[in-house]
């Protein structure tokens, strides 16, 4: 079908730039449907995680992404799989979109063998190297220099002058003042790395609002001399269009760019946080009713006559069922074997990726139960 042109005016602010993202964007029916379906799957998956956590099937931390779906979805549409993606602990949905399935994500949270990291990682540790997804990082800020390293490798591996795959490092407003981010930005700028510093500004780092943790709250300007773009992160079309602009800039060797995504987190920070002590319920309700990224994409679909409300209801039902189905499958998965405890300490080989090298001895709490490579104590 023919693409429709959508208006994006007011969706962008720029810093230190002479050009800017387009204020309109073309989108086809398929494209928009895909975005909607992905976003709705994300939403349902996260809500399911919430329930499963409350049913005590998930342990430890569990950071949900609902409210922010348009950010990852728009980014993923603008980039391709040669571009590297790294983010924080709030990573379920990116794992899903970068080669994972609901089943793999949820099975991981259940601590099962079929989990994306075989029950070893849990909520904060999803990775998919084949799909250029590098996590998943439990330490605030740490993924950003690492992301700059992904960009470094992209540059290293591209013949000079050619367009480079980019790398994006996503982090929160709370993380944004971590010094190592500045250190990475300095190197990225100095060495013209194709690196996108992407701040998902959901207004809070845990219970602290941006005005209380950041002396500079125009995050897209935090790169100082490094150019930046602020994007309406609740509008998936704006995110996609804005990120095309950003990718283009970075891929062509002009250096890194800062991006600030204006977004919102619906849930509390993690499961122990009700999320309602440091912000009031009205604020959450107001955002949900006026800026919800899913409602927005649905409205776009209807306005463009790509879908009828009934078709959308139908699709939602289908997706809900699919998510449910996959969660059921995840529950059928087995617990990881005890032997797996000894695996994956060391890699054996980068090329064949043929599994683990074992250290000669892995001490266990009870010494007698230790692992010895030749089966017996020294």
């Amino acid at each position: 079908g023919p693409a429709v042109v959508f208006d994006l005016s007011g969706s962008f602010q720029t810093h230190n730039l002479e050009t800017a993202p387009n204020e309109t964007t073309e989108c086809s029916k398929d494209e928009l449907w895909n975005m909607f379906e992905l976003m709705y799957t994300m939403r349902r998956m996260e809500i399911t995680c919430d329930n499963e956590y409350k049913a005590r099937n998930i342990r430890g931390f569990c950071h949900l992404y609902d409210g922010q779906e348009a950010v990852a979805t728009g980014i993923l549409q603008a980039l391709d799989e040669k571009d590297s993606y790294i983010t924080s602990y709030r990573c379920h949905c990116i794992a899903l979109a970068r080669g994972g399935s609901v089943k793999q994500v949820v099975a991981e949270l259940f601590g099962f063998e079929d989990g994306m990291t075989k029950g070893k990682g849990g909520s904060m540790h999803f990775y998919n190297k084949k799909h250029n997804f590098y996590g998943g990082q439990g330490i605030v800020g740490a993924q950003v220099p690492v992301g700059a390293g992904l960009a470094f490798a992209n540059k290293y591996n591209t013949p000079p002058g050619e367009r480079m795959p980019v790398a994006i490092g996503c982090y929160g407003d709370g993380a944004a003042n971590q010094g190592q981010i500045w250190e990475a930005a300095n190197m990225a700028s100095l060495w013209k790395l194709p690196m996108i510093f992407c701040i998902e500004n959901n207004q809070y780092g845990m219970g602290t609002s941006i005005d209380r943790h950041s002396s500079h709250s125009d995050y897209y300007k935090m790169g100082n001399h490094i150019p930046g773009v602020r994007i309406d992160g609740m509008n998936v079309l704006a995110v996609r269009e804005g990120m095309r602009f950003v990718k283009d800039y970075c891929a062509s060797g002009q250096g890194p760019m800062y991006v600030e995504m204006m977004t919102y987190r619906y849930h509390g920070h993690s499961m122990s946080d009700p999320g309602t002590t440091y912000r009031n319920r009205e604020e959450i309700a107001f955002t949900r009713s006026t800026r919800d990224p899913l409602e927005f994409v649905k409205k776009c679909l209807v306005d463009a006559e790509f879908a009828t409300p009934d078709e959308l209801k139908e699709a939602e039902k289908r997706i809900r069922k699919d998510v449910q189905q996959q969660v059921m499958e995840a529950k059928e998965s087995a617990k990881p074997s005890m032997d797996s405890l000894f695996e994956d300490i060391f890699a054996k080989d980068l090329v064949s990726r043929s599994g683990s090298e074992f250290p000669p001895h892995i001490r266990m709490p009870d010494y007698a139960k230790s692992f010895w490579i030749d089966g017996k104590p020294e």
């Binding site: 430890g60 029950g119 070893k120 943790h213 617990k335 990881p336 010494y367």
Partner: protein, 333 residues
């Protein structure tokens, strides 16, 4: 009275803040949110934002800042949301705090407390489960304490705050909610536990169990079980990891002749290793009836899945197995 460890720490901080205007606390979410684990509950209301300070998530920066304040004789308490994040600030803790008094030949003291939950929790995986007991305890110029019970928690925290030196307090998330009886004495505002002294939790004659933090509880459980087997276990709660109470360790080893050390951290170069070395280099060696056994965390990054996690952490059976091995000869004799 029964008091949870969380409240004991809270009381210690509260009392010391009341006692001394120069004491203040800073860290992520310590003020308005009352602490990620609610340890600082009520302090913000009571002392306001001058003395109970929410920081940005910038561990290296706020640690350095607190150290500077300590150079000027304020007494900061730095809360790390967990000790894992203190790794970002490691250089400041070691190079600007621990070594400072020595480097300045006594001109610049650094009266500061670094505190937070240390070691494993439940299902938080590899990056959020590290024990820093061995690392911090290896550094001259630091003091390091690690409470087990509520009395420990209160007395050691107060001692740490009053100390004119940098003190690392290694708490345990899974102990915050655990209640212990607290003596009248321990409830008082003057209750301070001297840093550097271990506590004999239970006296015994056949074997010495040594541990710190949460795993002291494991030793107590084991001791109880051993009673049934006719083995009298002495349980030592180290309380301080630096200075280590070598005297108490050695005396107990001499008395029982058998030692089992327990910690949750990785085995290599751990606290248990150090105790082995102490037993080797002192008189205690001559009294050993069996080699020391250690029970430690598995030598792997902490996995997430519950069974793997459990297998990676010392359990009572592991302690019992070690005790049985070490007492084997005697029982057989």
């Amino acid at each position: 009275t029964q008091v949870a460890v969380r409240e004991a720490i809270n009381a210690a901080i509260d009392e010391e803040m009341e006692r001394d205007e120069s004491v203040f606390i800073l860290g992520e979410e310590v003020a308005q949110y009352q602490g990620a684990y609610k340890v600082t509950k009520g302090l913000y209301e009571k002392y306001g934002d001058k003395r109970v300070i929410d920081t940005p998530i910038t561990e290296m920066g706020f640690t350095g800042l607190a150290i500077g304040a300590a150079y000027k004789d304020l007494r900061p308490i730095v809360e790390f949301m967990t000790m894992n994040f203190s790794m970002q600030a490691m250089d400041q803790v070691i190079n600007s705090a621990a070594k400072q008094y020595y480097m300045s030949a006594g001109d610049l003291a650094c009266p500061i407390v670094f505190r937070g939950p240390n070691g494993f929790s439940a299902g938080t995986a590899a990056q959020h489960s590290q024990c820093f007991g061995a690392w911090y305890s290896s550094v001259p110029g630091l003091k390091v304490v690690s409470p087990y019970s509520s009395e420990d928690a209160k007395g050691l925290m107060k001692a740490a705050i009053r100390d004119p030196n940098p003190v690392v307090v290694l708490e345990h998330e899974l102990m915050y909610g655990v209640s212990f009886p607290m003596s009248e004495e321990a409830m008082s505002k003057d209750f301070v536990i001297p840093i550097g002294q271990a506590k004999i939790e239970i006296a015994g004659s056949d074997v010495t169990l040594i541990s710190f933090s949460k795993t002291v509880g494991l030793c107590l459980e084991a001791a109880e079980a051993l009673k049934g087997e006719g083995i009298s276990a002495e349980v030592i709660n180290l309380r301080s990891l630096r200075p280590l109470d070598r005297k108490t360790i050695i005396a107990s080893a001499k008395k029982t002749g058998r030692v089992v050390c327990v910690e949750q951290g990785w085995p290599q170069c751990g606290i248990c290793s150090e105790i082995a070395a102490i037993l080797m280099e002192t008189d205690a060696f001559n009294y050993l009836d069996a080699p020391m056994e250690r029970v430690t965390g598995a030598d792997v990054p902490m996995p997430y899945a519950v069974d793997l996690e459990n297998a990676s952490l010392p359990q009572v059976e592991d302690v019992l197995a070690a005790v049985r091995r070490t007492t084997y000869r005697k029982l057989a004799a």
